[in-house]
Structure formats: structure tokens, C-alpha cells
């Protein structure tokens, strides 16, 4: 459904834009209907930039992003695209205008996309959409943003996106501002939406959240894919040293961090020291079925040719 092919984003930096910063380079993956793909990376890994490019909030510098076979940058009508693809972002509080009631976000959807729909019919639609995100319409409609909790606001934004019968949802760090006792409900909601056939691109820095909900995982490092594949294989058998470091750093309940830091010695590079007959797709080696891994990177691999 959504396919990214060799997507890069280059920002011009420096006083006169004389230098280049590659925020994302050569990223390819796809998202199918009824699938949650989590995009995991630390700050500066380019994960949010990718989400923004998919949402057409910023153009890709190289490569193509296609939705159902059509290049998204060539789609004339943004409105038609946003009927099918919507985003929800990290900070629910700043998505609302505090001067207006929170349900204005629904009214704006009606104005823009369904101006001819009758009032009663629209009301039913709003209520069923709120029901879908397990909010009680009586509790949230007619309230101001400050009267609602972060979890409620975030779920209203998801409900808003669902009003449009979307097929792809870009969820950029939607959980990180929520409290522990409510974040799991939003996460479960994503799982339920997947069951209805929605494709979800779940951008997060939290490995345990990505692991909980996603079917496939893409680990980004400095704008490149370090490792990607089915979630159970990426987490069960991490091949890239970076993925391993990340997994080791995640604080867990019931297990404390190992005392010994892993030895910094030379470990085999998962790309250059691959088994002889491993299939290769551009700069990723397919170590297991559908489980791709990149070169360990400069510093860890002598054969690395990483551009700065």
C-alpha cells in the first residue's frame, strides 16, 4: 500500500546553506493494509522526518514515496490524499486551540470534507468514531481542551483521523506524553485498528512499545536502516550491534542491567561478514527470511564506507 523506495532527505545547513545534512538516506520499506510497522530510532535518526515525508509535510529530496502505486508528490489534490492518510503527533495538548472547545477538530473535518452532511447524521458519525476509540461522547463533547486528560485528547485526535475512512495512519510518538496507566489503552487501540485493516506507521523511540504492538520493525540509525524485519525476529535475534546495544539499554522490570558493559572488541559485521550465499538488497543483507541487516558502520566494521 505505502512504499518507500530509496528515500532521502537532505537539509541545507550552515550560514548560506553551503553544507548538506543527510537526515535520511536511502530508506526503503513498505506498509501493507492491516499491518503495524514500527519505526524505531533515537533522536536524530530521521524517524520523524520519514513520517513527515509520508504525510507530505516536507518533500523527499531523493527517492519516491508511493501510495497504491501513485507517487505522493505527484498527487495534485492534497485533500484527496489526506482522505486516505492521516497523522497523529506527539503532543496532544498543542494540537488543540485552547480558546475553542475540543470537538472543534471534528467540526473542521465536517466543514472541509463533508459540508453537505446533515447535522444528525454527522453527530452519529462522531459518536461512532469516538466509540471506536473507546471514549464516552457525553464525557468529551462540548468540553474545552484543558478539561480533558492527555489520553482523552490523544484518542480524540485518533477518532478525528478515523472520521475520514483512512487507510494509513502515521502515529508519531503518540504515546510518549501519556501516563503509564493510560498509554497501554492507546496502544491496544492501535492493535484493534489494525484488525480492521488499517495500516499504521508507528514512529517511536521506545522499543518495548514498538515491540508490543507492531508486526514489523524498522530500526533507524543516523538516517539509515540498521535492521528491519518481522518484529519477533528483530527483537528475538538482533543481528546489528546497534540493535543489540539498544535492547540492552532498555530498562526492564524483573531484570537489572548486566554489570559488565559488552566488550568493545571487533565483532563480525553482519553485512560484510555475511554467509557467502546471503541475498543482498542494495546495502542490506537478508540474513534470515525477510530479516534485513546493514553494515555495522564505521568504527565497528573496517569495510564500512559511511558518508558523513
Amino acid at each position: 500500500m505505502l512504499r518507500l523506495d530509496g528515500v532521502s532527505k537532505i537539509y541545507r545547513v550552515g550560514a548560506f546553506g553551503g553544507r548538506e545534512l543527510r537526515a535520511v538516506s536511502g530508506v526503503s520499506f513498505d506498509v501493507n493494509p492491516g499491518e503495524v510497522v514500527s519505526l524505531i530510532g533515537e533522536s536524530g535518526s530521521g524517524k520523524s522526518t520519514l513520517g513527515r515525508m509520508v504525510l507530505r509535510l516536507t518533500p523527499a529530496s531523493e527517492g519516491t514515496i508511493t501510495f497504491d502505486g501513485t507517487d505522493v508528490s505527484a498527487i495534485r489534490s492534497r485533500k484527496a490524499y489526506y482522505r486516505q492518510v492521516q497523522g497523529v503527533f506527539q503532543d496532544p495538548f498543542s494540537c488543540y486551540n485552547p480558546v475553542f472547545k475540543a470537538d472543534r477538530v471534528f467540526a473542521m473535518i465536517k466543514q472541509e470534507y463533508f459540508p453537505e452532511m446533515g447535522r444528525a447524521e454527522w453527530r452519529d458519525r462522531v459518536e461512532s468514531s469516538l466509540d471506536g476509540v473507546r471514549l464516552d461522547p457525553g464525557q468529551v463533547l462540548g468540553k474545552y481542551p484543558h478539561q480533558l486528560s492527555g489520553g482523552q485528547l490523544q484518542r480524540m485526535l485518533i477518532a478525528r483521523a478515523l472520521m475520514l475512512d483512512i487507510r494509513l495512519l502515521v502515529a508519531d510518538e503518540i504515546i510518549s506524553m501519556l501516563d503509564a496507566s493510560t498509554r497501554i489503552d492507546v496502544l491496544n487501540l492501535l492493535g484493534d485498528l489494525r484488525a480492521r485493516g488499517l495500516g499504521i506507521l508507528f514512529v517511536t523511540h521506545d522499543l518495548s512499545l514498538g515491540n508490543y504492538v507492531s508486526d514489523r520493525t524498522v530500526v533507524l540509525r543516523r538516517g539509515r536502516i540498521a535492521e528491519m524485519g518481522p518484529t519477533d525476529r528483530v527483537f528475538g535475534n538482533p543481528l546489528h550491534p546497534y540493535t543489540r546495544t539498544l535492547l540492552d539499554s532498555v530498562p526492564r522490570l524483573h531484570t537489572k542491567w548486566a554489570d559488565e558493559e559488552p566488550a568493545a572488541g571487533q565483532t563480525p559485521c553482519p553485512f560484510h561478514d555475511r554467509a557467502p550465499d546471503t541475498p543482498v538488497r542494495s546495502d542490506l543483507a537478508e540474513a534470515e527470511k525477510e530479516h534485513y541487516v546493514a553494515c555495522a558502520g564505521s568504527g565497528a566494521c573496517p569495510a564500512a564506507k559511511e558518508t558523513a
Binding site: 533515537e42 533522536s43 486528560s149 492527555g150 501516563d179 503509564a180 496507566s181 493510560t182 498509554r183 497501554i184 489503552d185 496502544l187 491496544n188 492493535g191 523511540h205 521506545d206 522499543l207 518495548s208 512499545l209 515491540n211 508490543y212 504492538v213 518484529t231 519477533d232 527483537f235 546495544t245 539498544l246 535492547l247 540492552d248 539499554s249 532498555v250 530498562p251 526492564r252 522490570l253 524483573h254 537489572k256 542491567w257
Partner: protein, 314 residues
């Protein structure tokens, strides 16, 4: 006993009345103890952390005492507290990124800060401490903008502990960091205690799994009151308070997948602290609630070092 807090009450002044953010909190922190202070937003954990060092303009000390190493801290009197700040009680603030003066090189800023307190520090000692947190001496010649978030966080840690405080309050120090820097910063906290630079520590956080990695004990707060305090292992494996139990069981861990095991959150939301209900404040969300919960349960010790505020736990 290093720190003894007795029935501390701190309220916020708002136009609509007083918000009882901290409503009768009593606990102790022993010498050498790292206590994790966990809770959701609005539970009063940051208010507690702040009130041990500096009440901001909206906060009012309503009652209760704080005693550190046998001396009572004048928490309600900002001017009198000045004698204790930095030297006896120190804080690593939540946004260390913005705690450093952007117009000064780190080295100069540290020197000025110490001079303002009439202290001097051997440069070799400063370098030793930077090394302890994994920074090279070069950072002293750099501006804050030249450092990454994790590095700035660690610079602030060194600065906060220069005078070997008896109590260090670390307020959400890892929340804004990536997982790998989180680990480094958390380990640094542990190092500060292990080398004796800081006697005891309160680590305020919303992330129980992180604080479990370094804390000796964990105290859980809910709606301005204490819910449970116990050794870290006990909180995670055998929590007694229904809130702690639900909170722990709602955390997704690496390895837990929705398809295998569906976790659930806690229904409902915490009560407003403007006019909190009588009795146990978790009552409305609690699956075990019964008639007696209309009466406030005392925070009592149910096992050595394990205190709980719940009628069903005793």
C-alpha cells in the same frame, strides 16, 4: 536516619482555591539509600522533590517538617533555606538542557557559581569528577550548545554535586534522553552514591522500570499521598497496593506482544486535588474497594521496610 519527612503538606495557590498537591506525606530515607519516587503526572512527586529544596512562588508550605541529618530544614522559608541549598541539599533539574548559561563556557560558569558561594575547587578534583561521569576535561572549554543532551545532563550532575550534598534530588533526569544515554546517566547517578559524593538520593521519575535499575527502594505516590514504599525488588515482584499492582501490570516489556498477552490500563483518572474526596483517593478506580475505603487508610508498615496505605494490604 538521613532524611525524615513528617506529615508534609504543600498546596498550590490558584484562582479557584488551593490545590492540595502534597497532602500529609511521611517517610524516611536512610544514609546511602537511593529512593525512586514514582507516580503519574499530578501525583505530587515533583512537588515533593521541589519542596525539599525550593518552593516556587505558587507553592505554600502548609504543615509538616523535614529533618536532614538531625537538622530541621526551613522548607517554608526560602531565604533561610539558602544556607542548605547546593551544600546540603542539591537538585538536578528536569530540563538540564536549559539549566546551563548559554553565554558562558562550562568551566567559567562553574568557577563563577562556586565563587558566588564563596567556595573554591581544585581543578584536578573537577576533572576527576568529570571523568567519573564519562566526560573529558575538554568540556570545560566548550559552550553548552556544543554538547549533546546527555552530555549537558551529566555536566549538570557534576555541578549539582560539587559540594558533596547530603541529599540529591534528581527530577526526571532521564526522561528527555535516548535509551542509550538514559543508561549512562542512570549509571552515573549510581556512581555518585557509590563514590560517596552524595550521601542519599531521591530519583523522581514516571518510569518504574528505569528507576528499578538503580534504586534501593521505590516509593509510589498517588494523588498527593503515598501509596506504597518498599525495597525495589518487592515493589516490582510483590506489590501490595492495588494501584502499584495495576501500574506494574500495565507496563509493556520487551518481549511482550499484544498478540500473546493483552495488557490493560487503569480505567478512570485521578481525582482533582482542588477538592479531593474523603478517604482513599484511589477508591473510584480500585477493583478491591469496599465500604471501609471511605475512611482514609493509614500509611503503615506491613513488613520490614514495606509500607502501604491500603485497608486490604494489612
Amino acid at each position: 536516619m538521613s532524611l525524615t519527612v513528617t506529615d508534609l503538606r504543600v498546596h498550590y495557590r490558584t484562582l479557584r482555591g488551593e490545590v492540595k498537591a502534597l497532602d500529609g506525606v511521611s517517610f524516611t530515607v536512610a544514609d546511602g539509600e537511593i529512593m525512586g519516587l514514582a507516580g503519574e503526572s499530578g501525583s505530587g512527586k515533583s512537588t515533593l522533590g521541589k519542596s525539599l529544596i525550593r518552593l516556587d512562588g505558587r507553592m505554600r508550605h502548609v504543615g509538616g517538617t523535614v529533618e536532614l541529618d538531625g537538622v530541621e530544614l526551613p522548607v517554608g522559608d526560602s531565604a533561610a533555606m539558602d544556607r542548605f541549598r547546593f551544600s546540603e541539599v542539591s537538585v538536578i533539574p528536569q530540563y538540564s538542557m536549559s539549566a546551563l548559561n548559554p553565554t558562558r563556557k562550562i568551566g567559567k560558569m562553574v568557577a563563577e557559581l562556586l565563587a558566588s558561594r564563596g567556595e573554591r575547587l581544585d581543578p584536578a578534583e573537577l576533572e576527576r569528577r568529570l571523568e567519573l561521569v564519562g566526560l573529558s576535561r575538554d568540556v570545560l572549554g566548550r559552550y553548552p550548545i556544543e554538547l549533546s543532551g546527555g552530555m549537558k545532563q551529566r555536566v549538570v550532575m557534576v555541578v549539582s554535586t560539587l559540594l558533596n550534598p547530603s541529599l540529591l534530588i534528581a527530577d526526571e533526569v532521564t526522561s528527555a534522553l535516548d535509551v542509550s544515554s538514559q543508561k549512562a546517566v542512570a549509571r552515573t547517578l549510581l556512581g555518585l552514591r557509590d563514590t560517596g559524593l552524595v550521601t542519599s538520593m531521591i530519583v523522581v521519575t514516571h518510569d518504574i522500570s528505569l528507576v528499578y535499575q538503580i534504586a534501593d527502594t521505590i516509593m509510589v505516590m498517588y494523588a498527593g499521598r503515598l501509596a506504597e514504599k518498599a525495597p525495589a525488588d518487592v515493589i516490582v515482584t510483590e506489590p501490595r497496593h492495588p494501584y502499584t499492582r495495576l501500574l506494574i501490570s500495565s507496563l509493556p516489556e520487551v518481549g511482550v506482544r499484544q498478540a500473546d498477552k493483552r495488557l490493560s490500563g487503569i480505567p478512570g483518572s485521578p481525582p482533582s486535588l482542588l477538592d479531593p474526596p474523603e478517604g482513599c483517593r484511589f477508591r473510584d478506580r480500585c477493583p478491591l474497594a469496599f465500604d471501609r475505603c471511605a475512611e482514609q487508610p493509614p500509611f503503615t508498615e506491613v513488613a520490614p521496610g514495606h509500607s502501604v496505605a491500603c485497608w486490604k494490604a494489612a
